[in-house]
């Protein structure tokens, strides 16, 4: 493209990669933030009014500019240039954030800046510089190293969720990756998922020895540990010959689909198996008539788009290239702007259930206000996680919804805790439970 210009102002400069292990790859992005705060404001076209105006929980909670992406990238830029040192505040700024992707999608509505990757890279830098992650994260890392799960629970208890009614196959095309939380904390999600698969006539297998997906490790910048885990997990899945890896946790979904390839420098297509969330699977089965949801659920219900299933869920392709004239990149880069997120499928599913009155919150789809729990936040900043959930519950109350449904155990647990603390009587369910209830005889 630049070769077509009659005048070449200067030579192309930097080589760069979309590689978060080196913050220098994102100096361009961080230095081009225009402080429009589109990363925080709900997309103006969808702005719901004087309430619920923003979608960045960190900025909303801590309020100083430093906590929004507009502040974080300025801080990151200064650090990348060696002009600013880490301190406790800097760690709080970088880590009191769910990396929910609202900023990335908000910015990419108008510009070509990689905000999410910049923020991920800052966490990697924190670890590289020896100041991160937060102590709570180190505890989680220790649990994973020792017990292959985040909670430090006994590894042998990981399959305790399997009831007698559930019979995983020895070999199948579909591998159900349960994840730590559904295995240990939200067994109802694992059980519901298994029942749904059975009802649809789909055989599924489990990993012979399922370990944590490493979401927290990756998200807080412990990349070496995360990479090792990723390689191990992918190898194990490939050994099973699975064609599809099905998962009912949004965070895990994002790890397998997006961040494993990112860690290993490959693309999602190169994994060798398809990564599907339960809602993608169920949506297809319902539309083809294989799965019938007949039992009514009379409720005024709203759906919360779990970040990792929506904004952050587009497949990954590694990229390296040159940035030259006017910042143009060669080769052409098709950026992940969140437009292909899994927004429609869960809604189609819920609308297909008799009796469900699906209403939308003021902030919906790519404008969703994160529950506050994900990607290491709950561990290190439990108050912030609860605060964010309470904010979201205000919206639930605003539209008079009785039931709140999401597609991630993190969301479910954080909301459930906030509901209890706030004394509301909103019913908090995972979509797997709702589907399962509707297909039961």
């Amino acid at each position: 493209m630049a070769d077509n210009q009659a005048v070449r102002y200067y030579s192309p400069r930097s080589d760069f990669k979309l590689d978060i292990t080196d913050i220098q790859n994102f100096v361009y992005d961080m230095s081009r933030c225009i402080k429009c705060k589109g990363c925080s404001w709900v997309d103006h076209t969808y702005m719901p009014g004087a309430k619920f105006m923003t979608r960045c929980p960190s900025a909303a909670r801590y309020e100083f500019d430093a906590y929004g992406a507009y502040g974080k990238v300025r801080i990151g830029h200064a650090m990348a240039e060696g002009l600013l040192d880490w301190n406790d505040k800097a760690l709080e700024i970088i880590y009191a954030c769910t990396l929910c992707g609202a900023c990335d999608v908000g910015c990419k509505r108008n510009l070509d800046l990689e905000i999410e990757l910049s923020l991920e890279s800052l966490r990697v830098k924190a670890v590289q510089d020896g100041v991160g992650p937060m102590p709570a994260h180190k505890k989680v890392a220790q649990n994973i190293a020792q017990h292959h799960n985040m909670y430090g629970a006994p590894h042998e208890k990981r399959t305790a969720w399997i009831s007698s009614a559930i019979t995983p196959a020895k070999k199948a095309d579909v591998l159900y990756f349960v994840g730590c939380t559904a295995s240990y904390v939200n067994k109802e999600i694992a059980q519901s998922t298994a029942k749904i698969l059975k009802a649809a006539g789909t055989d599924f297998m489990l990993m012979p020895d399922e370990w944590c997906c490493g979401n927290t490790l990756f998200s807080v910048g412990l990349l070496d540990d995360a990479r090792a885990l990723a390689q191990r997990n992918i190898d194990e899945v490939r050994k099973t010959g699975a064609k599809t890896l099905l998962i009912s946790c949004a965070e895990g979904y994002r790890m397998w689909k997006v961040d494993y390839p990112k860690l290993l420098g490959i693309s999602t297509a190169d994994l060798g198996f398809q990564v599907l969330h339960l809602v993608e699977y169920v949506d297809e089965k319902v539309k083809s008539g294989t799965l019938k949801m007949t039992r009514p659920f009379e409720t005024r219900l709203t759906y919360h788009d779990s970040c990792s299933l929506s904004r952050l869920s587009e497949p990954w392709t590694p990229y390296e290239g040159k940035r030259g004239w006017m910042g143009c990149v060669e080769p052409r880069l098709k950026r992940r702007r969140g437009a292909q997120g899994i927004y429609a499928q869960p809604r189609d599913i819920l609308r297909a259930i008799p009796g469900v009155n699906l209403v939308e919150m003021p902030r919906t789809r790519e404008n969703t206000f994160c529950c506050g729990a994900g990607r290491g936040t709950q561990a290190a900043f439990p108050d912030f996680a609860q605060w964010a959930a309470a904010q979201r519950l205000e919206e639930v109350g605003e539209i008079g919804a009785e039931t709140l449904v999401s597609s991630c155990p993190w969301c479910k647990n954080n909301f459930a805790q906030a509901v209890k603390a706030g004394g509301s009587n909103v019913q908090v369910l995972d979509i797997s439970e709702v589907i399962c209830a509707s297909i039961e005889e």
């Binding site: 429009c36 309020e63 702007r337």
Partner: protein, 533 residues
């Protein structure tokens, strides 16, 4: 002089420990650049500083107390609503207190009496949404839906919707201003009551202190509360559609509609705007620079350049679009009437209607100003002036001529003559000229171009928006009024004798010229040796 512990404690007592910080990382988060409006340029590099301390008040009383503490202790301070306006909204001296007004986002709407009342933390898109729910609308300034409405109304405040709605100055109703010494000035009906519905003051109108044609960038007080006039709209809902990045408002076709017309010449564009104004129809009328179409079509920066590189001076010079927004304020019949009149006019001028999407991406609830940074990474408007349709169409080509000398580093736009449109039903005209560059390039010529445009305006006797603090005051002052700068400085000295409110504004651009060696050869005007006093 950094803010001492005692003064910090005094300020902390006003807002609480949670809302004040002098942590260097927190303060770094408030850096102006290097990206942003007018950023990545010499002015920003030389003049903008990271604050020494940041404070976030909630009420007018908080602001008063903060300003009084600063004034008593000689602490320079800068009011900051969103920070979007670029370096001019950021501290220009070391150890300044940045007063971040984002918490002041109260909102009240009076449906029957067509106004909203807001704090400086309130931006346009939520205001517009609330207005539209109640049969009203406001102008979303071209600066964007993310601009603070108050900051925009005392700084800029127009868009194609100003074709009907008019000067922002008249939409400023009851207002509260914390003056530079911390005293409170209540304007409009707030001067004698607590009802902000009316903007005129008792006798001489001190709303004149809020702005000139453009604003004072916070050097003459902090507006903490403003009632803003809204205008009656039409009653049907505009539904948001699409998923980011392709979101837009679906327009109720019988009550609102954009129509794009191709007309045969620039004269026809001007004539169309004039006739539409004289016919007293339409809600918005504007031409559209050709490259905005490329921006709208492009999925990424590189695609923009693919599209743009297919254009040339001829295609740019021969692209004549007039974009008209019809609004059925009264009824469907009224919009139909407006359309018939519009078609009459276009028929007389040889205009052809093009198929136009029944949606609004920009102007009614969103103003996609952020897209201005897509192409190059650097952007500033070097004029956005309301005058008449006599000045507006001839203004842009003069800029284009000056621009040639400075391209590169300015973006090649094949001599694009900028943007103009009709205002106030044709009583006024508007011209805006936008320039773009890569901030990694040598940007000194952009700084020089900027001041060169001021000289061009003076030479050609154009009115311009870049007066007051926006260009060297001692350059423009003698040539407009004449000597408006003397009166401005006298007023500044009266209300802020210690120059604590955003120093050294309004002399900031003068100081920049003194400090920047690459600007010295531009200075061919007189100014005092000691610019700060």
């Amino acid at each position: 002089m950094a803010i001492s512990k005692e003064i910090y404690k005094a300020l902390e007592a006003v807002v609480g420990a949670q809302y004040i910080s002098d942590d260097p990382v927190i303060c770094e988060g408030y850096r102006s650049g290097p990206g942003g409006y007018e950023a990545g340029l010499g002015y920003e590099r030389v003049m903008a500083k990271v604050p020494g301390c940041v404070i976030m008040p909630k009420t007018t009383e908080d602001v008063q107390r903060i300003v009084k503490i600063c004034y008593r202790n000689d602490i320079p301070y800068v009011p900051y609503s969103t920070g979007f306006y670029g370096p001019r909204s950021h501290p220009h001296v070391e150890d300044a207190l940045l007063i971040d007004l984002k918490r002041m986002n109260d909102f009240v709407l009076d449906e029957k009496h067509f106004y909203v009342e807001v704090g400086p933390g309130m931006i346009y898109s939520p205001i517009q949404e609330e207005c539209m729910k109640h049969g009203a609308y406001v102008v979303i300034g071209g600066g964007g839906a993310q601009a603070s409405a108050i900051a925009n109304l005392i700084g800029d405040g127009w868009s194609p919707l100003s074709h009907r709605i008019g000067l922002p100055h008249r939409r400023i109703l009851g207002t509260e201003v914390v003056m530079p010494d911390g005293e409170l000035l209540r304007l409009g009906s707030l001067a004698t009551s607590d009802d902000p519905f009316w903007g005129e003051c008792p006798g001489p109108d001190l709303r004149g202190l809020l702005r000139g044609y453009t604003g004072l960038r916070g050097c003459l007080g902090i507006v903490t509360r403003m009632a803003i006039k809204t205008l009656p709209f039409q009653p049907e809902r505009l539904e948001p559609t699409g998923i980011s990045p392709n979101t837009a408002l679906a327009l109720p076709e019988k009550r609102i509609k954009w129509i794009n017309f191709v007309v045969p010449s620039k004269d026809a564009q001007v004539m169309a705007m004039r006739e539409i104004g004289h016919a007293e129809i339409a809600g918005a009328v504007t031409k559209v620079p050709l490259f905005w179409r490329a921006i709208a079509k492009a999925e990424c920066k590189e695609e923009f350049w693919d599209l743009w590189s297919k254009e040339n001076e001829e295609t740019v010079a021969n692209f004549f679009i007039v974009r008209v927004l019809l609004i059925g304020y009264t009824s469907e019949e009224q919009m139909a009437y407006d359309e018939r009149v519009l078609m009459d006019i276009m028929g007389e001028l040889g205009g052809q209607a093009r198929r136009t999407k029944p949606s609004d991406e920009s102007w009614i609830k969103n103003a996609d100003s952020a897209g201005m940074w897509l192409m190059c990474g650097g952007y500033v408007s070097v004029d956005y002036v309301i005058e008449t349709l006599t000045q507006s169409p001839v203004h842009g080509p003069e800029y284009a001529e000056v621009k040639k000398k400075y391209t590169p580093p300015l973006m090649p736009d094949y001599g694009d003559p900028g943007w103009f449109q009709s205002f106030e039903l044709g009583h006024q005209g508007y011209s805006e000229f936008l320039v773009y560059w890569d901030p990694d390039d040598d940007t000194n010529p952009v700084d020089q171009f900027y001041v060169d445009t001021s000289k061009m305006n003076i030479k050609n006797r154009f009115y311009t928006s870049l007066l007051g603090p926006h260009q060297p005051l001692y350059l423009t002052g003698p040539k407009y009024g004449p000597n408006y700068h003397e009166f401005l400085l006298k007023v500044k000295n009266e209300f802020d004798p210690k120059w604590r409110s955003h120093p050294p504004v309004p002399l900031a651009h003068d100081v920049f010229v003194e400090r920047a060696p690459w600007m010295h050869h531009m200075k061919d005007w007189e100014s005092p040796d000691d610019l700060m006093k």
